[in-house]
């Protein structure tokens, strides 16, 4: 795979507080890429920098947080060099964003079709009628044919699952090549969760969509994504093939994450938990950031910052476990 082909390529992304002195960056030296038709899952606890990365890709970092370094290429275009106006033209057109809670993320007093029409016409122009036809087609595609045929509805008139489908249709209004789904199922029932994830993977396949799936749920990631990238305290600790990753994670943190997944092991052992808390942005840690909580910690872990190896051996640990057989 060459650089030009990746739908999303992030390299050396570092995010930090704009007014900080010598504090730890919130995201440090993060690099990854997603090809067309591929789903990459970001897995990590809250505060590990998952959503912040998504915000950085869209150029919508919250006030007070700034990109210190790094490059972001979407569909071959370097976004960080673009002025705000040009960047705005690409949001929604080249990349779509799906939020965790569709009830709050949909504009509350505007019909959902009207919102799709609006987004389409802002980027592609055209007549209202054409945009409306486009909105109906999209709603049908995400499985809301009844909504597509009937009169326009407000978001609060829909169920949670329907809202999230609308949110996805809205993100796809202009046929973007990249979709970022930030915890898209966390606010939903388990049953609806599965439906939404099935929808996402179907769209990914049918449209050749690159999907960045952000979640804290390792199981969902393993089941639906092609590859998994584990984040810990703002750093990537391991990246790998979803299937093999789940069987044999190499980084101690990834292993701990996997072992903390219910159900309780049949042999009567307790569900594993990771002792301690992830460090906040104020705490400065030398060496590996997971070292204070790592069961396999050794002396050099506290001195040397581990980095990801070259492609193929993607684990940021000085003493990783055995690779998958």
């Amino acid at each position: 795979m060459t650089a030009g082909e990746a739908a999303l390529a992030v390299s050396g992304l570092t995010l930090g507080l704009a007014s900080g002195h010598a504090r730890q960056p919130l995201v440090e030296d993060l690099s990854f890429r997603i090809g067309r038709g591929e789903m990459l899952a970001f897995v990590g606890e809250s505060g590990s920098g998952k959503s912040l990365t998504a915000a950085a890709i869209f150029g919508l970092l919250p006030p007070g947080i700034r990109r210190m370094a790094g490059a972001i290429r979407v569909g071959g275009t370097e976004l960080t060099a673009l002025p705000e106006r040009a960047l705005r033209a690409r949001r929604g057109r080249d990349m779509g964003l799906v939020f965790q809670n569709p009830l709050t993320a949909l504009s509350p007093s505007l019909g959902v079709q009207a919102q799709i029409v609006e987004t389409y016409r802002v980027h592609k122009g055209g007549t209202r009628e054409a945009a409306r036809g486009r909105a109906r087609a999209l709603l049908t595609e995400v499985g809301l044919s009844a909504l597509a045929a009937g009169p326009d509805r407000y978001p609060h008139q829909l169920s949670g699952g329907m809202r999230q489908r609308v949110m996805i249709a809205l993100a796809l209004a202009c046929d973007p090549g990249l979709l970022i789904a930030d915890e898209p199922t966390t606010a939903l029932d388990t049953l609806i969760q599965v439906q939404i994830m099935d929808l996402l993977t179907r769209l990914q396949r049918e449209r050749g969509l690159a999907v960045l799936f952000i979640t804290h749920d390792l199981r969902l990631a393993a089941r639906y994504a092609d590859r998994i990238l584990v984040l810990y305290a703002g750093r990537a600790v391991e990246e790998g093939d979803a299937a093999s990753f789940f069987i044999a994670p190499r980084h101690p943190y990834s292993r701990a994450l996997r072992d903390a997944i219910p159900p309780v092991p049949a042999d009567g052992r307790r569900l594993a938990e990771i002792p301690g808390q992830p460090p906040g942005p104020q705490t400065r840690i030398e060496g590996c950031r997971f070292a204070p909580r790592c069961p396999d910690v050794r002396d050099d872990c506290r001195r040397v910052v581990p980095t990801m190896g070259p492609l193929g051996v993607r684990v940021a640990c000085l003493h990783p476990g055995a690779p998958a057989p």
Binding site: A3, S11, G12, A18, R66, A69, G70, A71, A81
Partner: protein
């Protein structure tokens, strides 16, 4: 990869264009609105009560040769159409304005609290009656009611304060009633009632204490309203009989001469009223912001 590197360099942390301006803004931001308002109000009170000690001139003395004199060394704020010293009159008028407004606010506060607590803590039917009555009262704006009373009843300074206070209480009453209703449902109040604490005891110890901060904030707004109401009333030539005058009355006598442009008769009393109201509003807003835990007013 090389262009990636180039892009990452463009994101070097940018310094503000005007670092000094930012520092000034930061310093100004720390000046609290409530503190500034409080100090401003103290300054106005000092002007009214301590001022006459430092500048002992009779506000009623008529200087027949200095009618409508512009501000000058002898009359720092000029004289009015009868040749009276405007600075001295402004000080005396400040005493009248601030004292009446203060007493009126106190009366309104106490009356409103009492009414609101009775409605809020009493049985449901009483609450309904009292609240509907309050709605009807609130339908007549304060100043209109004041004008109505002032037209019927001949007023002295004391009765004016009482009347202002009696007109002002419905706002506080509604606030106290709503707070009391809300507080009643809180767990610790229920608990106290379960343990056999009397109605009055609960009202005094728990509910009144819970609503006190909000009541204080609204009392400052009430004071601003009273200054405005009193000034408005006296500006209309009602309420206080000449020769004494509040700030509103002084402004009125200036406004009647507006066509011949005695700016000092308008600017100084007008500014005094404005500053007094501004002081109370800033104090109230600042306290409210502090109460809401918001960083800035």
């Amino acid at each position: 990869m090389t262009d990636d590197r180039a892009a990452s360099r463009t994101a070097a942390p940018a310094r503000g264009l005007f670092p000094r301006a930012r520092r000034w803004q930061a310093a100004f931001g720390t000046l609290r609105a409530d503190l500034a308002g409080g100090l401003l109000f103290l300054a106005l009170a000092a002007f009214s009560w301590i001022g006459p000690l430092l500048y002992p001139h009779d506000p009623l003395a008529i200087h027949a040769h200095h009618i409508l004199a512009a501000p000058q060394a002898r009359f720092p704020l000029g004289t009015d159409d009868l040749g009276r010293n405007v600075l001295a009159r402004l000080m005396r008028g400040g005493q009248t304005t601030l004292a009446i407004s203060f007493v009126a606010s106190a009366i309104g506060l106490i009356a409103g609290l009492a009414y609101g607590l009775v409605a809020g803590l009493g049985p449901g039917w009483l609450d309904q009656i009292l609240m509907r009555l309050l709605d009807a009262l609130l339908a007549i704006p304060t100043l209109i009611l004041l004008i109505f009373f002032a037209a019927i009843v001949p007023l002295g300074e004391a009765s004016l304060a009482v009347m202002l206070g009696l007109v002002a209480w419905p706002g506080i009453a509604r606030l106290a009633r709503n707070e009391a209703r809300a507080a009643r449902e809180r767990d610790y109040v229920r608990a106290a009632r379960q343990f056999g604490a009397g109605r009055l005891y609960v009202a005094r110890v728990h509910i009144l204490r819970a609503m006190l901060p909000l009541v204080i904030v609204n009392a400052t707004f009430l004071m601003a309203d009273m200054i405005l109401g009193l000034s408005g009333l006296t500006f209309l030539g009602l309420g206080i009989e000449p020769p004494h005058a509040s700030w509103g009355g002084l402004l009125n006598s200036g406004a009647q001469l507006a066509v011949i442009d005695p700016w000092w008769l308008i600017a100084f009393p007008g500014l005094a009223i404005f500053l007094a109201i501004l002081a109370m509003n800033m104090l109230g807003q600042g306290l409210l912001a502090r109460l809401e835990g918001e960083g800035q007013a």
